[in-house]
């Protein structure tokens, strides 16, 4: 479970997070929806303890990320934006490295790596160096890294960017499977179809604030619109950022 309480963060002169509060429950997929520059990435980085909030706090499974960051991080898997691949390593080496870094021993990291590579249908590229990978292959590698150690909470920053149809479907199935297994999945996106199709709970944010939250249907009902996209535009009060 990921909980964000009254987070405030100023970057330069911009109030990136403005008393942001929401909750992502276990066994549910929570979507963080917002236009470009809404503060989605800032929010996720704060949850990871990479950015320090000016006030407020973030909790992972009831562990404060600032007070006990090591234990909090062990409960997390991160799919970052940008991916942060090591171009000179192969996906197998890359994924196994992060598995061990998350506390697995060499043997079990090896096994977990093999199974996640199979799961993501990456065995054909598993032993090629990441340099020269397509966007989709990069995303898959990063995704494998995020889930290899089976963390209770998985955070994905714009996971569908650059994925082809097949990969998007794999990702979707994967997220649903993680949900089945009882994981807490939090992802940020500005792709409506993705959010509408996957999320149990949607948090709409703009200018660092939560403007609405609920299931996709609830949001549609609240705004009396047919689709989530229209509901979203009504909620944020403009159509900025949707072109991206």
């Amino acid at each position: 479970m990921i909980e964000v309480i009254e987070l405030e963060k100023k970057i330069g002169s911009v109030q990136a997070l403005d008393k942001l509060s929401f909750k992502a429950e276990d066994g549910k997929i929570t979507g963080l929806l917002g236009p470009n520059g809404a503060g989605k990435t800032t929010c996720l980085r704060t949850i990871f303890g990479l950015l320090q909030a000016d006030s407020g706090f973030a909790k992972i499974d009831d562990i404060d990320v600032v007070k006990d960051s090591m234990r909090a991080k062990q409960q997390l898997g991160l799919f970052p934006d940008p991916c942060g691949l090591y171009e000179r390593l192969t996906p197998r080496e890359y994924v196994q490295f992060f598995a061990e870094l998350s506390g697995m021993d060499n043997k079990s990291a090896q096994v977990a790596t093999q199974s996640v590579l199979e799961q993501l249908q990456m065995t054909d590229i598993a032993d090629r160096k990441c340099k020269g990978f397509s966007q989709g292959q990069r995303m898959k590698t990063a995704l494998a890294q995020a889930i290899v150690h089976q963390p209770t909470n998985i955070i994905l920053d714009e996971p569908t960017r650059g994925l082809d149809v097949m990969s998007t479907r794999i990702l979707r199935d994967l997220l649903l499977m993680l949900k089945e297994q009882g994981h807490c999945v939090l992802f940020s996106s500005h792709v409506m179809q993705e959010v509408a199709a996957l999320c149990d709970h949607v948090v709409v944010m703009t200018n660092g604030k939560v403007v609405a939250e609920g299931s996709p249907q609830a949001l549609c009902e609240q705004t009396q619109k047919e689709t989530l996209e229209e509901a979203f535009i009504t909620l944020i009060g403009s159509d900025e950022g949707l072109a991206a």
């Binding site: 970057i11 980085r45 990871f48 303890g49 990479l50 950015l51 320090q52 090591m70 234990r71 991080k73 062990q74 997390l76 991160l78 970052p80 940008p82 991916c83 942060g84 691949l85 090591y86 171009e87 000179r88 390593l89 080496e93 490295f97 992060f98 061990e100 870094l101 998350s102 506390g103 160096k129 890294q145």
Partner: protein
């Protein structure tokens, strides 16, 4: 705690070994420097060893036949050949007259004393003239019935204790300098790549999102960089051993011989320096905001150790500097090559202070990584 450092260390080593070109670029120094030094020493030795016969231009020699004969007795003669040195000895037209009347007779040496190639020859000529001077003066005193030893209030005797090896001080200084610098240069690229480069590729934030502390992260990186530094050090030692074997040392009557003991000794005292150098490089690279900026800073910062080492090389180190890290270790290396007693106290103290510096730089880097400005290069 150590397990995570080990995991990251393994990854850094693997990642670096895949980046063959930039690793090799660093190691080229270790291979190239001794060879360049070898060529340089050969040329220097030729220049320094002045030939036995010194040929100069003597103007108006007929005025002073005795002086000219005396100089010839000391292998200094007038010549018109092209090998003549740019030194002129002008004998005054009144020389013969002044001499016969017991007055001070004028001879003038004309030469460019800033010319390093000439300075030894000029000194030799001056010495010979001084000796001639005291010889003639002595004869004059005897003819007046005075014991010439009255002119020698102090009888200065110098006993040259220089062993052949200890004569090559400057050569030893430069040779050891090139060995120590290898520690700093061989892993320079790697250090920048693994810190500023890691941030530029966005993987630093991802690393820090994992349950690894910034101290563990810095330690692993420093260990990997230091490992490559040590590879550079061993390489430079081995290449030096063979390269210096080819320098014609016999011209100066000493030799630089790097035996196995010396190589082992250098490896041992090189380890703290490698750790210190790696932590310094990481610290500077993280301080920079981009890869390119890091490259400039690192090149600049490396002047400090090189400067310390230079002081020892050119023997201008003050009493305090001799105890400073790097300067002291280099001094010890020189003593070991010369076959003198190892300055144990100095080695231990400077190695300890080198390790303290390593700890400080590591701590500073790890503290910097807690700042979001550093991690995201804001």
């Amino acid at each position: 705690m150590m397990r995570l450092v080990q995991v990251l260390y393994k990854k850094e080593m693997l990642d670096a070994s895949r980046d063959k070109r930039s690793v090799m670029a660093g190691l080229y120094y270790a291979i190239g420097a001794p060879i360049v030094m070898c060529v340089l020493f050969t040329i220097l030795l030729k220049q320094l060893s002045s030939p036995d016969a010194l040929e100069i231009t003597i103007e108006n020699p007929q005025a002073a036949p005795n002086l000219v004969r005396f100089l010839e007795g000391h292998d200094i003669s007038h010549s018109e050949k092209s090998s003549v040195k740019a030194i002129r000895l002008i004998i005054d037209t009144d020389y013969a007259q002044d001499m016969s009347q017991g007055r001070s007779a004028l001879v003038t040496i004309v030469a460019d004393k800033s010319d390093n190639k000439l300075i030894k020859s000029v000194r030799r000529l001056e010495m010979s003239l001084a000796r001639y001077n005291s010889e003639v003066a002595g004869l004059r005193l005897i003819s007046r019935g005075i014991d010439p030893s009255i002119m020698r209030a102090v009888n200065v005797q110098t006993q040259d204790q220089a062993t052949p090896d200890s004569k090559g001080g400057m050569f030893l200084g430069i040779a050891t300098l090139s060995i120590i610098i290898a520690l700093f240069y061989s892993a320079m690229n790697l250090a920048i790549d693994t810190s500023a480069g890691e941030r530029e590729r966005n993987s630093l934030a991802l690393l820090l999102s994992h349950p690894i502390s910034s101290t563990q992260l810095v330690l692993a990186k420093v260990a990997a960089i230091a490992s490559y530094s040590m590879v550079g050090l061993i390489l430079v030692l081995v290449v030096s051993k063979f390269a210096y074997g080819m320098v014609p040392w016999e011209q100066l009557g000493f030799s630089i011989n790097l035996d196995l003991m010396f190589i082992l000794f250098c490896t041992l005292i090189g380890l703290p320096i490698a750790l210190m150098s790696a932590s310094l490089l990481v610290f500077v690279s993280f301080m920079a905001k981009s890869f390119k900026e890091a490259q400039s800073y690192v090149a600049f910062v490396l002047f400090v150790p090189i400067g310390l080492s230079m002081m020892t090389t050119y023997d201008i180190a003050t009493e305090y500097v001799q105890w400073a890290p790097i300067a002291a270790q280099q001094y010890a290396m020189i003593e070991v090559i010369k076959g003198n007693e190892l300055p144990l106290m100095q080695v231990l103290l400077s190695s300890a202070s080198t390790l303290v510096l390593f700890a400080i730089f590591t701590m500073l880097s790890s503290r910097m990584l807690k700042s979001e400005k550093v991690v995201f290069g804001l």
